[in-house]
């Protein structure tokens, strides 16, 4: 218990130290969070009327972001499988970054859902036994369960591994292995359940298609790992943490397959809808062509299509995949592409036309955008803090001091362009 306390104290000291760049970054996030908090205060005060959601389009930007981020969270599993099932060393060293990303993404997911509901203070109605969780009938109840489980597993594994590293011990395999193995099905489950949430509604033909779950999974395996690669590059550039090209290339390969499957499934869905051309085509027409003069999403979805296809080419072609510049480009393109396609592109057409075929065009208000920005900033803040602790631990720059009580902090500066860091390395301070 005392150890944990000292570890905790050490992390507090650690996160308060860093380079100028680190402080600027944290400050930037904190100010965005503050803006978001003000936007949220206004929404709480006036109600969700400050959004552009209405009875016809009853979910909007918040739930779109939520849906996308569930995918990002699920993608951590792509590092866990090669690392712990196939014991592939280059990835094993970085798998913990994936778990921390999953934790941050889930935090954002939960925040987006909280922002979206009319009575967040009644959250306790969702707690089994205390409230009245409608399990197993409601898929939303399932989602609450699997998201929390996934968060708990990832947080436990990551913290446990790092904590042991800090105390220079080998993590107990009997604890980590089952948890890591459990995290694989539970990553799949958060995505499957979120897809089922939409999928199970007979009222909404746009979502009521059995291909939705595989489409969800495929797109998650594009966006999440793409974000991971971007983080790898940043971490490699701005911290002392070493990440091998080999590991990045492996992840990039997986993305190439995932984009292919994602495009294939989308194509299958488009064929079915356009060829049969039943009344259910309307939502697709709204998304891709515009319906009765309403076409707010059309430029977005085509942007997404172009981005995804370009990214696919970049990932498929070995020359561009191995080139770091084009690889980063591909990652950014596919991340944005999937953000549009699995965010607004998935949620909004479910409501347009609505169940009585009314068309209400939705676009987020300023408040919705600010609030979402605040949530993203919070997620990145959480992720930064987690990395601030995790990376020095993994580098051996943050560990228990020789007296076995206090902590040794070798990395005073965090987020420094690498050549500079070498200089500061020579003067570690305790």
């Amino acid at each position: 218990m005392k150890n944990i306390w000292h570890f905790f104290l050490g992390t507090i000291v650690l996160i308060s130290k860093g380079s100028k760049g680190y402080y600027c970054w944290v400050l930037f996030l904190l100010s965005l969070m503050t803006i978001g908090a003000f936007a949220y205060a206004q929404q709480l005060n006036e109600g969700l009327i400050v959004t552009n959601m209405r009875d016809q389009v009853s979910w909007g930007f918040y739930i779109s972001n939520f849906t996308f981020l569930v995918g990002v969270a699920a993608a951590a599993v792509l590092l866990v499988i090669p690392a712990y099932v196939y014991h592939w060393k280059p990835i094993k060293e970085i798998a913990v970054l994936g778990e921390l990303l999953a934790v941050s993404a889930i935090v954002m997911c939960m925040m987006f859902v909280t922002m979206d509901i009319g009575h967040p203070e009644r959250f306790w109605h969702l707690i089994p036994k205390i409230g009245l969780l409608n399990f197993p009938q409601s898929l939303l109840a399932w989602d609450v369960v699997v998201l929390n489980t996934y968060l708990a597993i990832n947080l436990t594994v990551a913290v446990y591994i790092l904590y042991n590293k800090y105390y220079k011990r080998e993590p107990n395999k009997n604890i980590t292995t089952p948890l890591l193995l459990l995290s694989i099905p539970s990553a799949i489950s958060i995505h499957t359940v979120t897809a089922f949430l939409y999928n199970g509604l007979g009222a909404r033909p746009f979502w009521n298609s059995s291909i939705l779950v595989p489409r969800f999974l495929a797109s998650a395996f594009c966006s999440g790992p793409a974000f991971m690669i971007l983080i790898f590059f940043l971490v490699r550039k701005y911290t002392k943490f070493k990440i091998e090209d080999e590991a990045i290339q492996k992840v990039a390969e997986i993305i190439a397959y995932a984009i292919f499957i994602n495009l294939l499934l989308l194509g299958a869905e488009l064929f079915k809808e356009y060829y049969t051309a039943t009344i259910h085509l309307d939502s697709f027409r709204y998304l891709f062509q515009g319906l009765h003069g309403h076409s707010a999403l059309v430029p977005w979805i085509w942007t997404a299509m172009i981005f995804n296809v370009t990214a696919f080419v970049l990932f498929l072609n070995p020359a561009t995949r191995r080139n770091n510049v084009t690889l980063v480009m591909g990652c950014i393109l596919v991340f944005i592409g999937v953000y549009i396609e699995k965010g607004m592109g998935l949620v909004i057409p479910g409501f347009i036309p609505d169940v009585l075929h009314e068309i209400y065009e939705y676009a987020p208000t300023g408040i919705e955008l600010l609030l979402a920005m605040g949530v993203w900033a919070t997620g990145l803040f959480v992720f930064t803090m987690l990395l601030r602790v995790a990376i020095p631990i993994m580098n051996g720059d943050f560990h228990v001091a020789d007296d076995g009580v206090g902590s040794y902090i070798g990395d005073q500066l965090f987020l420094v362009q690498q050549p500079d860091a070498v200089i500061s390395e020579s003067e570690p301070v305790i």
């Binding site: 009327i49 199970g200 007979g202």
Partner: protein, 308 residues
């Protein structure tokens, strides 16, 4: 180095203060919804789901609500909890050959059920359809507004909650804030609903409506005769829907729903499906009846028919 560090610290502190201030403002707003904050806020916060309340707890809840509402609207407001009547299952009939699309039912419903006037909430939606196209919703006109109705070449189809026998809306609710009662009416506990709107996504008839803002009903327009599961004043951030006028139809002797009472052409019929002698049973057995979106197997207890 130490100078820059101090400077950084300073900036960090300042931003922290700013954030704390923002947070305090946020928390302040959560903690005080309105100026008349009182102990009842906590009672409300900890209130159990309607179906889990004991007799005494229910009594206390009703007393609190009646007091709050009466104060808010400066007149005596009663909140009933009349239970379903044994052997009754309500059914509704709507004669499409008679309906003239005057929307009197829409406004009678608003009045009877204390729907918000601003922002406007309507539990009934009347669609103007093309006689040539039949019931083809993609050609429906929702906001028709001619000087006189009916318009040539058109017919009208009112839609409201169909009180499904297999309601998808209750199935998806994560907290069991909405359910089907013994008499077939699907209700919402406005004090339990978390406002996630999953039920709205699930309902195939657009029958559920959300209080995007605090509902406003002028005090002299409020209907003081209310039911806990029906037309009592709603808070913002919860879902509401048609309840077949639960506050009227569960009375003994029962009253008709406001929409059926007001209809000038008698297009609306209401009765007990379990009573073989009832008018609704006669209609179902003898007229050309259909239910809306039959393929979804929601099994509505709302029957459209053509009497002529």
């Amino acid at each position: 180095m130490s100078d820059t560090k101090k400077c950084d610290d300073h900036v960090l502190h300042k931003s922290r203060r700013k954030m704390l201030k923002g947070m305090a403002a946020g928390i302040g707003l959560i903690a005080m919804p309105g100026r008349d904050a009182s102990a009842s806020i906590w009672e409300e916060f900890f209130q159990k789901n309607f179906r889990e309340l004991s007799k005494d707890e229910l009594k206390a809840v009703i007393a609190r609500l009646e007091k709050d509402y009466s104060k808010q609207y400066a007149k005596q407001i009663t909140v009933k909890t009349t239970p379903p009547i044994e052997g009754v299952r309500y059914g509704y009939g709507l004669d499409l050959s008679r309906c003239i699309g005057c929307r009197r039912c829409v406004y009678a419903c608003v009045k009877e059920n204390n729907q918000s006037r601003s922002p406007q909430i309507h539990w009934i939606r009347v669609m103007q359809l093309n006689k040539e196209k039949g019931i083809d919703l993609s050609h429906a006109e929702h906001y028709y507004n001619p000087a006189t109705v009916p318009e040539k070449g058109h017919f009208y189809m009112p839609v409201q909650c169909q009180q499904c026998e297999k309601p998808p809306c209750t199935k998806v609710c994560p907290v069991q804030a909405t359910w089907k009662e013994q008499d077939g009416i699907v209700v919402v506990d406005y004090n339990w609903c978390i406002g996630c709107r999953y039920c709205m996504a699930a309902c195939p008839y657009g029958a559920r409506h959300f209080n995007w803002a605090k509902p406003s009903v002028p005090a002299n327009d409020i209907n003081p005769n209310t039911h806990y599961l029906g037309n009592r004043p709603r808070p913002k951030g919860v879902v509401e829907k048609c309840t077949f006028c639960i506050q009227r139809t569960r009375e003994q002797p029962g009253r008709y729903p406001a929409c059926e009472e007001i209809c000038p052409v008698g297009a609306r019929k209401f009765g007990n499906l379990l009573d073989p002698e009832s008018e609704i049973r006669y209609l179902i057995e003898n007229k050309r009846v259909f239910i809306f979106k039959e393929e979804l197997n929601t099994q509505p207890k709302f029957y459209y028919f053509y009497a002529t």
